[in-house]
Symmetry: C2
Subunit: 333 residues, 2 copies
């Protein structure tokens, strides 16, 4: 099933079941918010599945579904932990600044704790406060977990994934170097993220989801031009169960925890950096990656970060060309 949180003037929005084609939606009186459903998933799932069956079967008409009326599926969450599973992306960052990639990066996931108190809605503007901050988008996949016990291994972690969605992990590139140099990780450099209008259960994804990775091109466009379409199952060094087990190594994870993949990134055909879409490549899921490739190739990054009025769209289509999660569509302003 597909789930959305519609704006209703409250912080957590109103949980709705959305049909497969993203055209109709029905509220869920028994579980007014998605967090309430996740808090009690074993009870909630059959209730939601029943509504979904009636909506998709045409028994219930529902209301017209409008992605612009959506908050992020979890408008706020108790945990948002973002991995960096596409080590190719990390390797590029390092290469662009002439630093070695530690060998451990291929075996030990990077993960940071992100702010989760007030996510942007999928069609909210991206606030641009200071152009020097170098605002960027990052297209990612995320999963939402049920409770995960402290010390759960990868096989247990795999059984705790309840939902998938897309993310725009907004990043302020100009603030990152000084912040990371302080040693405490990201904080000011990672402002509010946004998520796709709809979160979906794994069974909606058919063969695209193998229980570990989501296959499919993650399409990012900037001002209507394709910027990247890497396959999310390719070059994902750490799959989602591995990321969840990493997060749960020293603490239990509460239901509704969001675990992100990090910027989706594919290597080029020669195993090196991916190539630009105009050159037949799969492009990039963030401006920084394109800039790094420019830096490596020519010694100079030229693609600018987001400016006022720039429009970012992030979406994944199924085999028939239909939008799975709805589109994140945000204007920088």
């Amino acid at each position: 099933m597909k789930l959305a949180s519609l704006k209703n003037g409250r912080r957590d929005g109103a949980l709705h079941v959305v049909d497969r084609t993203l055209t109709r939606a029905v509220p869920v009186p028994a579980y007014p918010t998605l967090q309430a459903a996740l808090d009690d998933w074993a009870q909630a799932e059959p209730v939601l599945a029943d509504i979904s069956a009636k909506l998709n079967g045409g028994q219930w008409a529902g209301i017209a579904f409008d992605p612009a009326a959506c908050l992020s599926p979890l408008p706020r969450a108790f945990q948002w932990a973002d991995g960096s599973a596409y080590v190719n992306h990390v390797a590029l960052v390092r290469k662009a600044r002439g630093a070695e990639l530690p060998a451990s990066f291929w075996t030990d996931p990077l993960m940071y704790q992100g702010g989760s108190d007030a996510f942007l809605a999928p069609h909210d503007p991206i606030p641009l406060k200071d152009p020097q901050w170098g605002c960027d988008f990052e297209a990612e996949i995320a999963v939402v977990t049920d409770d995960v016990a402290l010390g759960s291994d990868v096989s247990v972690a795999a059984t705790r994934i309840r939902l998938l969605m897309l993310v725009n992990d907004v990043s302020l590139r100009g603030l990152i170097p000084d912040e990371l140099a302080k040693g405490f990780g990201f904080f000011q450099s990672k402002p509010a993220s946004s998520f796709s209008p709809v979160a979906v259960t794994p069974d909606e994804l058919d063969a695209a989801w193998d229980g570990k990775r989501l296959a499919g091109a993650l399409r990012s466009t900037l001002n209507g031009q394709l910027f990247g379409c890497p396959d999310a199952a390719t070059d994902m060094t750490f799959d989602f169960p591995t990321l969840i087990a990493h997060a749960a190594k020293t603490r239990a994870l509460g239901a509704g925890t969001i675990i992100g993949s990090g910027t989706v990134s594919n290597r080029g055909p020669d195993g090196g950096p991916g190539t630009w879409v105009d050159e037949g490549g799969r492009g990039y899921s963030c401006i920084a990656e394109r800039r790094m490739v420019e830096q490596i190739a020519t010694g100079k990054a030229v693609t600018p970060f987001l400016a006022k009025g720039d429009r970012v769209r992030i979406e994944m289509l199924d085999a028939k060309g239909a939008s799975i999660f709805g589109a994140i569509e945000q204007v920088a302003q």
Copy 2:
């Protein structure tokens, strides 16, 4: 007023108003959870204040208050951001490993985003999974904010503080060096924290709270022996409004955001490291700080980290010797 979340089998507990002496408590039907009250603080505050007046005035008897029946005041929160406001503590860490303290550390706060999806209760055991992880306590002060707009300055931030409480920011010292070396900050090295049984509004603190810092000895005991009693208003380089404004520089903060002070730490009389309680000093708010002082003085840290059965107690007493927040009291196991 003083507020607690009593265990009721639900994730967020049941909000109660507690009397000043921490002996009686009354539930709050209009706001079943503390987060619900914080979400609507302007409406909730007079309701809570009325209950508090009746309870403290003897009009309402309430039920007996048992700190052991408490969850943390926010059993889970949408944001937990912990500063490192006592730069003396950071300077000691650096000195113990022979590293320079960057000058910017005196003007630019350190802050990390902590996990907030499932806090320990104030009397919960501290899970010890692997002795090599070097489990430590950290006694801190925290404030809970209302909504804080993106870019709020220090003077605005000061008006958004709603509650204060104590924290045990449990830390796994053995995991910190490798984790920080990866560059993404703390994650596995910061498992679930716990908070004092009661959170209090600033007006309960009288002159001890000047709107920026909380004066008073933060008492930590380990197995019944005093380990530290530094004054929380002394040597606090960054006050709470400064920490909040730092957190809000690039993002709005949602109501119920918890901002921590970092380990409370006082310098010695000579301006150097604080001295041990047996030597007449104010001691330390974590084992690591004592170990750093040992390292600096003798070349060898000898005080062990927490072992099974060790009992940590963190508390602050008022001028008359009464417990303000109730005690965090946890056994490592």
